[in-house]
């Protein structure tokens, strides 16, 4: 598993997923007449390249447009503007039938496990539905596949006949994951796939995802807010803020030297599993997330940025390369002086060294 996060030289060839200036805006409707009073710019100009074999993590504050991005990528939501290309093919140029065929290639795991499972279907029916739809295997073969998938996600055959409400939250999420991998798709979009899971099951699932990834040459795009998952699992990261990607880098680069001030604050806010740890020392962002219906002028982050200058409120900078990170910020040098937790001594401060890791102390 040591090769885990290193990229398998996948840079060559066209990206499996290429997103350009993607926008998804929703009208805000108010009052009894539901008249439009504004626009929510949920996704507002995202560029993203995902190469075959990548595990591309998308992180960002709640409500910054991550789920909307995934749903738009899959065509579940019509984009307002921009293009999405799968292996060079524009999603828009496909007929409905071709799009449906594509859907066995691209799968999604939704954020809320319970609501993504039909309450009237058993676990067996849920997982076998795509198999019946896209293959012509016999019932028994499909059932064998279902049982093996259940086993993969750590559930025994006794769960075959259960209904979603008879499962715990984590078990529901595992069923959703089993459904997503059932057809061996080539690209899986995962929306917070492990947030409902405890660390142990989470590790099991991540291991499983990694195994099937190597076995079947899969690519993942994964939304998560759990930075330790990103660190241990992903190969690349894009940090989103208010409908835009503001920093993009390989995992090692991002954690070793986060460039954008927002990225730094994000890394600093991870709760530390140690009751003695004094969280007052962390970087706390002033103010709250602005609304996507009224994004600030210039850099979206400047009103909360500790190192902002006047110029930041005038123009939203384009991507620039700094030590391998692609960053949309003009104050990278100043931001680095914030003493982000990426640097070595800060790491010592943050790591729960006062907690004798259980079991190791005897």
């Amino acid at each position: 598993m040591t090769e885990s996060n290193t990229k398998a030289g996948a840079e060559s060839g066209p990206p499996i997923l290429a997103v350009r200036d993607l926008k998804k805006h929703y009208p805000i409707k108010e009052g009894i007449l539901r008249r439009q009073t504004g626009t929510v710019k949920a996704v507002d100009g995202v560029d993203l390249d995902v190469h075959r074999g990548d595990i591309h993590a998308i992180v960002g504050e709640s409500g910054c447009g991550k789920s909307t991005l995934l749903e738009t990528l899959l065509g579940l939501e019509e984009p307002t503007a921009g293009t999405v290309k799968y292996e060079g093919t524009d999603l828009d140029s496909l007929t409905a039938r071709e799009q449906r065929a594509l859907k066995s290639e691209v799968q999604i795991v939704f954020q809320n496990p319970e609501s993504s499972l039909d309450p009237r279907d058993t676990v067996g029916q849920i997982i076998s539905e795509p198999l019946h739809l896209h293959t012509d295997a016999t019932n028994r073969q499909v059932d064998a596949r279902v049982v093996s998938l259940l086993d993969d996600v750590g559930l025994g055959p006794e769960y075959y006949g259960r209904y979603p409400h008879e499962l715990s939250g984590g078990q529901q999420q595992r069923v959703a994951i089993a459904r997503a991998i059932s057809l061996n798709p080539s690209l899986i979009l995962l929306d917070e796939p492990t947030s409902a899971l405890d660390v142990s099951v989470q590790s099991q699932i991540l291991k499983l995802l990694r195994e099937i990834k190597t076995e079947y040459d899969l690519t993942y795009v994964m939304v998560t807010h759990d930075l330790s998952v990103v660190r241990h699992f992903a190969t690349d990261v894009s940090v989103m803020y208010l409908g835009n990607v503001i920093e993009s880098a390989s995992v090692t680069d991002l954690f070793d030297h986060p460039k954008h001030p927002y990225t730094q604050a994000l890394i600093s806010a991870v709760p530390v599993p140690d009751p003695h740890y004094d969280s007052e020392a962390d970087i706390t962002l002033p103010g709250s997330v602005p609304e996507p219906d009224d994004p600030p002028e210039g850099c979206r982050f400047h009103p909360r940025c500790p190192v902002a200058v006047d110029a930041c409120s005038e123009e939203f900078p384009e991507f620039e390369e700094h030590e391998g990170n692609r960053v949309r910020c003009i104050r990278v040098e100043e931001a680095e002086k914030l003493g982000a937790p990426g640097s070595e001594d800060a790491a010592d401060l943050k790591s729960p060294s006062t907690t004798r890791p259980a079991g190791e102390d005897r």
């Binding site: 598993m1 805000i28 809320n112 939250g169 917070e192 660390v199 995992v251 604050a265 709760p271 609304e291």
Partner: protein, 327 residues
């Protein structure tokens, strides 16, 4: 000094399923003092949500509370009529559900739902209820409460829905809040804020909280005491310091060992070997013995005594909290 608000003793909850009777809770003892924040942690499927639903008497047939008592403010909740229970829910005890999209009704606007629920539980008019709704939405870091109020649940992001549930729940002004994985959909910066706010409100209004989570980082920051649950039993109970500094039960230690560290680069992700037992057919003796690194022969046959749930104690035949604490 502190009064006991909740005292659960020997709670057993079972479900009939196609594959037999699932013993989801197998005799749980737990106390929550007034103003205290208790964390309930354990692996997926260990019985955390069922504990929460049992306290609120939300176990539908074919499930049932097969035994035990849940005393709340001196009153046993088990066996209360559904009408009496309705008065307890919302006013005295409220719950933040694990999947927020299931607890919000998709056909009504957030305003409708919040105003009605807050108005009902606080016995106040719509206008006052709306003020409270706005106040709490602001508290949980929602930048534009107006837009949120006029939205329908599907128009909100996962984390926003979760914060709506938190705001609504706190807005009820209950005595006990049961929070089932309330911050799983929140990113770390928002989670941090919400935790701080939760702490503030809880301290200001002297609420008690049962905080269900698998995130030990959150527990360490937020809770006073921790109950570790495994396969429907509390295997260890103690203060946060007891649990983090002097974990006794091998399961607790394994659990702490699996915490990934953001700072340390890509080492192998740790797992607890084996899986949670099938609760329709739990193993004899100590339920953890098949996965336990320290298991002895007696662990396969003798069931350890369950913990009382009021001082540091582990349900283990091999290890003892007292010797551990003295070390």
């Amino acid at each position: 000094m502190s009064e006991k608000l909740v005292e659960i003793s020997d709670l057993k909850t079972t479900f009939e399923t196609n594959s037999g009777t699932v013993e989801a809770l197998r005799g749980i003892n737990l106390t929550i003092d007034e103003g205290e924040r208790v964390g309930l942690v354990g692996e997926s499927g260990s019985g955390k949500s069922v504990t929460a639903r049992s306290i609120l008497q939300l176990i539908d047939s074919p499930g049932e509370i097969a035994g035990g008592t849940i005393s709340f403010d001196g009153r046993d909740l088990v066996g209360l009529s559904s009408r009496e229970m309705q008065r307890v829910r919302g006013r005295d005890i409220t719950m933040i559900f694990q999947d927020p999209s299931m607890s919000l009704d998709p056909v009504y606007s957030i305003r409708n739902q919040m105003v009605e629920a807050i108005g009902h539980n606080r016995n106040i008019g719509d206008q006052r209820a709306e003020e409270i709704a706005v106040e709490y939405l602001e508290l949980v870091d929602m930048p534009n409460p107006e837009r949120v109020l006029s939205s329908y649940p599907h128009e909100l992001s996962g984390g926003m829905k979760q914060r709506v549930s938190i705001a609504m729940t706190l807005g009820f002004n209950p005595d006990l809040v049961i929070a089932d994985e309330p911050t799983t959909a929140l990113d770390v910066t928002v989670q941090k804020k919400v935790l701080e706010i939760f702490k503030d409100v809880v301290e200001r209004e002297d609420l008690s909280v049962l905080w269900i989570t698998h995130n030990l980082g959150v527990v360490a920051e937020f809770c006073d005491r921790i109950a570790v649950i495994y396969a429907g039993e509390i295997v260890e109970y103690g203060t946060v310091y007891d649990i983090f500094d002097r974990p006794t039960h091998p399961y607790t230690r394994e659990l702490l060992r699996t915490i990934p560290n953001v700072q340390r680069a890509q080492e192998e992700l740790r797992v607890i070997e084996g899986t949670v037992p099938n609760m329709a057919d739990p193993p004899d003796g100590c339920t953890f013995h098949p996965r336990c690194p320290d298991a002895e022969a007696r662990c396969e046959t003798t069931r350890p005594e369950s913990v009382d749930g009021d001082h540091h104690e582990a349900a283990c035949l091999v290890h003892d909290t007292q010797t551990n604490d003295r070390e």
